[in-house]
């Protein structure tokens, strides 16, 4: 093997970013740059460093430590040395350094670099908190919050656990950070979030909300990447002639685009997407080179999604029209005027002494003319579940829907906090609904869903 070939194999991209030191040793030894005696010297010095760090860890108070702690400290040391070796011009220079420098020296240089990286990562965290977008997506908010990435800056231990990532990170990036660990991972993750936020901030938060609602009305609970949806949506608008500024595209535009792209070769579609992304950068005046680069590198993933959608005739699932949940048609329910208080009290007194259910129901049907009175009777007249169910039989879908809206029976937690009469009413509603044919049940639930909040 020639030296040029060896150098190609020792190319930085062929080495692990996560365990750089080890992979450098492996490659260096494999291709003959490092001898057995070099490795033995390095290993001996690594063990000496481990012994010193173990002593430091126990503050000089213990000559022994748990094995798993020792292994973790060793990984931390090697990670820190790797940070220094990565700063050298190329792997060949790094191998040369391994031959001549001491492990202790390399560790100390790496530790300085680690401190600087930690500082930079903190700076990026502040930037991300500043350019964070307004969204209801839980994973996004939790990850960027104090109990997400924020934990890292309180618990990261650069001296003994430098390779660890003590943070809760659920939010997925369009370009996930791979092959990095410790502070390098956090720094890269934050850099990427910062760029994604930067892009998303070119659009109004409410337009993004409508776009994501179109994708899934319950997107707040989903592990989606907001940037990817927004970039895809914007590209869709440019390809189909929609409103990019508002991220609006209509079903007809999507249908026409599906037809147009179906006749294209994959390469032609990829070209159109690339051009649309370029136009988008011009249109939105995206001048920051790092952001343009991030978009560029995100395109293969987005292109693959669009190509798949075109070929499976499902482009309408990729380019979705915005949904405005607040514009959902709503129904207002008005009750007739309530009866006079005195008359109501008399009726309740009469109901409470009634012995037979049939008499109670007859009295209610005769006297109660307003929905609000009916609701009060259901809570005040101490009716049994059976009597309430009989009463429900005489009500229309809208009245039942209004009762469901006002007395929701979905949560057991809620039920604990309400009165006995309220619990009985909710239980009766639930029982009544369960006994209905599915068609009527769906109709009533749909009505309840569309009833305007009072």
């Amino acid at each position: 093997m020639t030296d040029i070939e060896k150098r190609r194999i020792m190319d930085r991209t062929n080495l692990s970013g996560e365990t750089y030191f080890l992979s450098l040793l492996q490659a260096g030894h494999h291709y003959g740059f490092l001898t057995d005696s070099d490795l033995e010297k390095i290993q001996r010095q690594c063990l000496e460093l481990l012994a010193a760090k173990a002593d430091e860890w126990s503050r000089g108070k213990s000559s022994s430590i748990r094995t798993e702690r020792a292994e973790s400290i060793m990984k931390s040391n090697l990670y820190t040395i790797g940070l220094y070796l990565k700063t050298l011009p190329d792997p060949e220079a790094a191998v040369q350094e391994l031959k001549t420098a001491t492990v202790k020296d390399m560790y100390q240089k790496g530790r300085k670099i680690l401190g600087a990286k930690l500082h930079t990562a903190k700076h990026f965290y502040h930037l991300v908190l500043k350019n964070k977008i307004v969204t209801v997506n839980e994973a996004y908010n939790a990850t960027l919050g104090k109990s997400g990435i924020g934990i890292f800056f309180n618990t990261y231990n650069p001296d003994f656990e430098a390779h660890e990532i003590p943070a809760s990170i659920d939010y997925q990036l369009c370009r996930p950070v791979t092959d990095l660990a410790g502070v390098e991972f956090i720094q890269k993750y934050l850099e990427n979030v910062y760029l994604e936020n930067e892009f998303c901030r070119h659009f109004a938060a409410e337009d993004i909300h409508h776009l994501l609602s179109g994708y899934d009305e319950n997107y707040q609970h989903l592990l989606i990447n907001i940037f990817e949806q927004v970039l895809t949506g914007a590209i869709g608008c440019l390809l189909a002639g929609g409103n990019v500024r508002k991220l609006e595209i209509n079903p007809e535009e999507v249908r026409a685009l599906q037809e147009e792209l179906s006749g294209d070769e994959d390469r032609a579609i990829a070209c159109k997407i690339r051009k649309a992304a370029g136009d988008l950068s011009e249109l939105e005046n995206l001048t920051r080179p790092s952001l343009r680069d991030y978009i560029e590198k995100s395109l293969p993933k987005i292109t693959a999604n669009i190509l798949h959608a075109v070929r499976t005739n499902t482009l309408d699932k990729t380019f979705v029209p915005p949904l405005h949940p607040e514009r959902k048609p709503s129904i207002r329910f008005f009750s007739n005027a309530k009866m006079a208080d005195e008359a109501y009290r008399e009726m309740i007194a009469e109901l409470l002494v009634c012995r037979f259910s049939t008499d109670k129901l007859a009295l209610i049907r005769e006297k109660v003319k307003a929905f609000d009175d009916l609701e009060d009777v259901l809570l005040d007249a101490r009716l049994s579940v059976k009597e309430i169910l009989l009463l429900f039989d005489s009500l229309g879908d809208m009245e039942i829907a209004a009762l469901i809206k006002r007395h929701p029976f979905h949560s057991d937690v809620q039920a604990v906090e309400v009165s006995e009469a309220e619990k009985t009413l909710r239980f009766s509603l639930k029982t009544f609904l369960e006994k209905l044919p599915s068609e009527r049940r769906e109709r009533i639930l749909s009505l309840a869903d569309r009833l305007a909040e009072e």
């Binding site: 490795l39 033995e40 390095i42 290993q43 063990l47 173990a54 213990s62 022994s64 020792a70």
Partner: protein, 159 residues
Amino acid sequence: MPLEILNIFSPLIQKKPVEEILSCNSMTVRYGLVLTERDAVDLLETGDRALKSNGRIEFGGGVIPKIIAEFCDSPYLTKDGWIETLRELTELFYYFKNETMDLISDDDLIAFMKEQFDGKCHGSPALLADALDSFARRMRDGTDPDRPEDEMGVDDDGY
């Protein structure tokens, strides 16, 4: 070979010198306690086994010379039982380093062992194990490990 770097049990780790243990004889001889080279090797092997079975690793000289120095003036030790007691003390030491969750230093643990051994345990390693168990439990629970040990199960006479 490169992955061997991660092997913290590498043979490259410096073996603890037998001489360090033998040099303790100059201090213990006045109490009639002397270790042979074979005893020293035996003690080092006991220490290695105890470390391994308790999932621990030791760097530097180790604690055996410290245990010897602390215990050699105990009225309960004689030349016949010296090596056997040292073996048991070494095993107890590493076991209770784990049980106390490394919250106590080597020196403090050895000092506590000596105090109990010469005091309420009356020179019995078995009673010392009980005392250490109670001590470790209180340490883990966050209660004061130094408070008087009524629950040791040992009366004032030690029986």
